[in-house]
Amino acid sequence: MTDTAATAQPADPAADTLRMNMIQAINSALDLMMDRDPDVVVMGEDVGYFGGVFRATAGLQAKYGKTRVFDTPITECGIIGVAVGMGAYGLRPVPEIQFADYIYPALDQLVSEAARLRYRSAGEFIAPMTVRSPFGGGIFGGQTHSQSPEGIFTHVSGVKTVIPSTPYDAKGLLIASIEDNDPVIFFEPKRIYNGPFNGHWDRPAENWSKHPGGAVPEGYYRIPLGKAAIVRPGEALTILAYGTMVHVCRAVVEDAGVDAEIIDLRTLVPLDIETIEESVKKTGRCMIVHEATRTSGFGAELSALVQERCFYHLEAPIERVTGFDTPYPHSLEWAYFPGPVRIGQALKKIMSNA
């Protein structure tokens, strides 16, 4: 997909392009959409007066008022259930779940209601909501501030799952998600809210000021859902990743001097299968990297799809580099996290396979 590569970075750093971190980009997308569409409402725990525990909704209540940006009781199931009803009325809710680890109480409303509403009512009622939620590890968040539950949602028919990896993508994808008439789960990798993370936790942290993905237009633009980005073209192998792992993979590949093609999936459902297929048929090798636990993770679906579609082009078994099948640990975080060591060794293995 040639157009996806073109939208991966801001093509035209015009005068209205600012440097933003991912929080600011998300805030900008929300601000812009609330301004454009009076039906967009933002709700969640601490999102109103306080502006969110990560500041993603800062300033919005003061600007748009309490009936459009409001704090909610601490009940995730209630937040999503109420958002479904608001959607049925005709609003376009953007509920926040404070951490993806706390989305489970809302599963019934998401899986049984939001995802099925259009289908079961033959289109009479829809759930045009975007559920924002910080996700992923790498911040010493322990068991309940680090999880990556995307595989639970990709298994549900009727919801879309979106995960940005840069401030530029975060804004463009969030705008597209809010405008989408289907329910969207929008997972924000909180490890890269403030800067890209290369997996080297023992080195100084970077911020977005120098990264091309930190250049964000002030105004409206959208990145279509279902379109991946080739963030590094290459010939030797294809790496499929999303969120924080895009940056970790890039650093590992550059350190190893391997000419890998790195594809940032950006949307897991619907998936940009064409970009993936084209790349693997070219390189003959495929490595899949995600933070989420391995068994029945989204990597298993990706691996199956590549195997089915690129079988005769494969020169080595598909590699999956993932979190282990354990709860996310606290003190042993860097042993769990699929960092440079694990990805580097998998890279060697897949490249040495004849």
Partner: protein, 431 residues
């Protein structure tokens, strides 16, 4: 693994015991409902609709009743409806019962897979629907088909859904009775219990946030109040003073579990409202005038921005839970007839007769007319096909409406299915 019980107690503390509720009557038992506390009609006071929720918890522990034992409408809750309105309510209850009878039988005849009656609970949905505005949005459970009947939704259309036939507006995607009728203000029914509760509150919040004038109404059974969504919804409704009427239909039974398993041994369901700071009313659910009056009161409270009301409708599920259920396996056969609040249709009929606005002959004629209306509708619906005769929708419609636009993976699966069916030579593959 459970710990072994200790043979010798280390202290002289009394042994604990676990209380597991048990209904009073099981199959074969003689039924005696004299212990059910039925306050006299007209006894409950009627507060101002602007009263603070904290000012009348007493109404959550009594029963609002209008029709007395002599079939007169008495007391402050008497809605003083015109005979015309009373007759319309009666007629709609009769239509609902006729519809239920016919569809229950259709299931037994193998014309459809499933049905659920509202026998004995006709007043709950029918009288409430008469007290709401047509523009108000209803979030029903599966036993409020009376709302559609009152809103003059075509019976044929309801039956088309039950038969999953060619005219089924839900394209055969939903289990029978899981209607959806947006134009009639009837929200899509879900199989997952009580999910509609927070949704109704969200709809009401949206209406309020937009400065609209419409309110929401929602129903669940007493068994479903045990779901977390009931709590979520009450919390949201109270916090944002949402314009919503929240109905709990306490028909004593959740499939085979008596209401004690939802907490009824210790309190009423209307009393739940007290803790949330919501106005709570408990009404005689077989008294159409009490249901009407309570709904009208709650609707006015919501419309004037005084917030939500929780209404417990005290009634009795006279039929099995569904066509898949046999109540003789878990409760006494004598219960439905012994129920002290009687039958909602008979009670309203007796009232109309007593005040000289109705008679037995007209009633019998109306029964016949309604049965005939339903029979004609059934004939028309069956002309569009019945479930027992196989598929009525185009095969590839299975993939429609998962998303607004069909993504590639569904297009691929659709093509695969069509190719499989073509190769299989199955007759319906050509549809």
């Amino acid at each position: 693994m459970a710990e072994e019980p200790r043979d010798e107690l280390p202290t002289n503390l009394p042994r604990l015991s676990l209380h597991v509720p048990e209904p009073k009557f099981r199959p074969g038992d003689a039924v005696d409902f004299t212990a059910v506390d039925i306050p006299p009609a007209g006894a409950a006071r009627r507060p101002d609709t602007a009263a603070l929720a904290a000012d009348f918890p007493d109404l959550a522990y009594t029963l609002v009743r209008v029709l007395d034992d002599d079939h007169q409408a008495v007391g402050p809750w008497n809605p003083r409806l015109s005979p015309d309105v009373l007759r319309r309510i009666l007629r709609n209850m009769v239509r609902l019962r006729a519809f239920d009878d016919r569809m229950f039988r259709a299931q037994r005849q193998g014309k459809t897979s499933f049905y659920m009656k509202a026998l004995g609970e006709e007043a709950v949905a029918v009288a409430a629907a008469h007290a709401l505005d047509y523009e108000d949005m209803c979030f029903p459970s599966y036993r409020q088909q009376g709302l559609l009947i009152v809103r003059d939704w075509p019976l044929v259309d309801m039956m088309n859904q039950i038969y999953s036939n060619t005219a089924d507006r839900l394209q055969g995607k939903q289990l029978p009775i899981m209607y959806s009728a947006r134009e009639a203000g009837f929200f899509s029914i879900s199989g997952n219990l009580t999910t509609q509760y927070p949704q109704a509150v969200g709809w009401a919040m949206a209406s309020a946030a937009k400065g609209d004038t419409r309110i929401a109404a929602v129903w669940c059974g007493e068994g479903s109040t045990a779901e977390g969504d009931f709590h979520n919804a009450c919390t949201f409704a109270a916090v944002y003073r949402a314009p919503v009427v929240m109905n709990v239909v306490n028909n004593q039974w959740a499939i085979s579990s008596f209401s004690g398993f939802a907490g009824a041994e210790s309190t009423t369901f209307a009393a739940r409202a007290v803790g949330y700071g919501i106005a709570g009313l408990r009404v005689d659910g077989n008294d159409a005038l009490a249901v009407y009056a309570a709904t009208q009161w709650a609707a006015e409270r919501a419309r004037t921005n005084q917030g939500p009301t929780l209404i417990e409708h005290f009634t009795y599920r006279a039929e099995g839970h569904s066509t898949s259920d046999d109540p003789s396996q878990y409760r006494s056969a004598g219960e439905p007839t012994a129920w002290p609040l009687g039958d909602p249709i008979c009670r309203l009929k007796d009232h109309l007769v007593t005040i000289g606005e109705w008679d037995e002959e007209r009633h019998a004629a109306q029964d016949k007319e309604c049965a005939e209306e339903v029979r004609a509708a059934q004939k028309a619906a069956e002309a569009n096909g019945i479930l027992g005769h196989g598929l009525h929708q185009p095969l590839d419609s299975l993939f429609d409406g998962v998303f607004e636009e069909m993504p590639w993976h569904l297009r691929e699966q659709r093509a695969q299915m069509m190719a499989e069916e073509a190769a299989s030579g199955r007759p319906w593959a050509r549809k």
